[in-house]
Symmetry: C2
């Protein structure tokens, strides 16, 4: 069996998998990493450990591994070898591929994690059959990727798809990127939790249910607690998802004006809320899409591969480089 | 000599030219058309007149015309034959290519006017040598087009590049498209004139110079009058360009976050103001680009082909279809 290894590097973990040509994952390995580790070497060592473990699994089963794909949360240059900047990983112009290739015998390719995810959803998931796709991943922030005519768009320098840092509110909420009013300050897990906490801190009676779920400590509140509350019918939690969803819809309408995709795929942890999030997003998208009524409209669906999208896509893209089709 | 005819259809004119393979224009014809003409046929008749006139010129010179390209201000479907919607031309799902092809012997292709312009600037103008280009045309509104890896991006339905209708101010100025806060309400010729008029109407002493140039009538004020005043040193006119330029910069930073182009080309009538507009735009772009200091930055230049970009690009794209490379 011919396998590729996919590695998904987040801010605090390295997750790897053995991926078949049909996108299925037949073996896994995972390590936690220190958050904002001071040395790039720590993460690189961890990647090598995970790859080595997966290679041993494949060897033991008599399977061949043809490529290793790395999906990294950061700016990856067009050469698919260098991480230009990764705020959560203390990488700056890091020659990641070459550093790893010296220690791993299988050919390696590096890509942005969201690029890997949109590729996976297109090949094996929610975007099958649609070659013009905008992917919006709602986690703590917003990650994004763009596929046009069946190709991942990387931009002139490899940094396309940073949708979360498009300004939607002039002078709005301060963002970690240094700007104000970035989209991810209004439509992300962080935004959801921030708004809920501000109600709690203000002592609003509307936050009674949420405060109880957080054990009385606003700082202990998490996104999944808000999802649970919304599913249990708490009107405040539902309203918070509606707000996030509305901002998601406004931002998608902006992207549709610019890019005219046939499909939006919404991934990331917050997307697990499903229609609590997507229904208000669809409503606002239809209400703010320019030319509405005079144009075909993009569909909006939830991603289907969940947390595996990054590693599946990284593996498949790396295999494609080997085979000359990606 | 092998020529292609390019036709640029705006809201009130049909301009045509005989275009050589090097992008030069060797013959011209032009007709005015009624604004928001009630019948699509009026514009189609006018196009046929202009094409016929140019074919006669070519025939007389013994030159061969291999293709006719139409650049239309409207949504053009991916088939490059149908105008889905053209607000200024009363076209709706208009089979423009086929209607014209019945009356013209040379093969015809239809494209969006901004798509034609970015192609022209890439082949013969300010974007030569850069394959990832965002074009922003500031006229009465904002027209836009996108080239990635040397291909014009049309989107799933052909309608990509409508940057002017990305929302930059929630609840902001009402736009003709029905939304509020669209970018073109803040960075366009209309925005420039609207802001100047509001000063005049308010009786602001800051508008004395502009009011004099408009003969005392706010409604008689035009964009070029404001450019002239700015060039003559009127501080209010200069400030108005600075404001428009700042919004231009903010919007470009948004597009750079999403698309990571190597180059922005600024065209359209307002771009004739040159650095009055582009300097504040560059300043704000650098100030609001996400990841600034950690990434390569796109250059921002003025378009170089002026009003000819649309017809040159339409001609060259149509020739490319004939020759299989566009």
């Amino acid at each position: 069996m011919s396998l590729a290894i996919g590695i998904d590097i987040g801010g605090t973990k390295v997750a790897g998998g053995l991926v078949r040509t049909d996108g299925s994952v037949v073996g896994r390995a995972r390590r936690d990493t220190p958050h904002r580790s001071t040395s790039p070497n720590v993460v690189e060592d961890t990647i090598v450990e995970v790859v080595t473990e997966l290679l041993a699994v494949a060897d033991a089963a008599g399977d061949d591994v043809v490529a290793v794909g790395i999906g990294a949360a950061g700016f990856v240059a067009r050469d698919r070898a260098t991480v230009v900047f990764a705020p959560h990983l203390s990488w700056r112009d890091e020659p990641l591929r070459d550093n790893l290739q010296r220690r791993v015998r299988v050919p390696i390719a590096v890509d942005n994690d969201a690029n890997a995810a949109v590729w996976a959803e297109w090949r094996f998931g929610a975007a099958r059959g649609e070659s013009n796709v905008v992917m919006v991943n709602l986690g703590t922030g917003i990650g994004g990727a763009l596929m046009l005519d069946g190709k991942v768009v990387r931009g002139a320098f490899g940094i396309a798809g940073e949708f979360g840092h498009m300004q939607v509110v002039p002078g709005g909420q301060r963002c970690e990127c240094g700007n104000k009013g970035c989209w991810e300050q209004y439509a992300s897990g962080n935004a959801l939790v921030r708004e809920a906490r501000s109600l709690m801190v203000a002592g609003s009676p509307l936050a009674t249910d949420l405060l109880a779920r957080a054990g009385g400590d606003p700082m202990a509140l998490t996104g999944p607690m808000i999802s649970d509350a919304a599913r249990d019918g708490d009107p405040t939690a539902t309203e918070l998802f509606t707000e996030i969803g509305h901002w998601l819809g406004v931002g998608m309408a902006n992207l549709a004006a610019a890019l005219d995709p046939g499909l939006f795929v919404i991934g990331g942890g917050v997307s697990a809320a499903g229609d609590l999030l997507l229904d208000p997003a669809r409503t606002m998208f239809r209400r703010t899409l320019t030319g509405r009524g005079y144009r075909p409209e993009a569909r909006i669906v939830a991603a289907s591969l969940g947390n595996d999208a990054g590693l599946i896509g990284a593996a498949d893209l790396a295999r494609g480089i080997r085979e000359g089709d990606a």
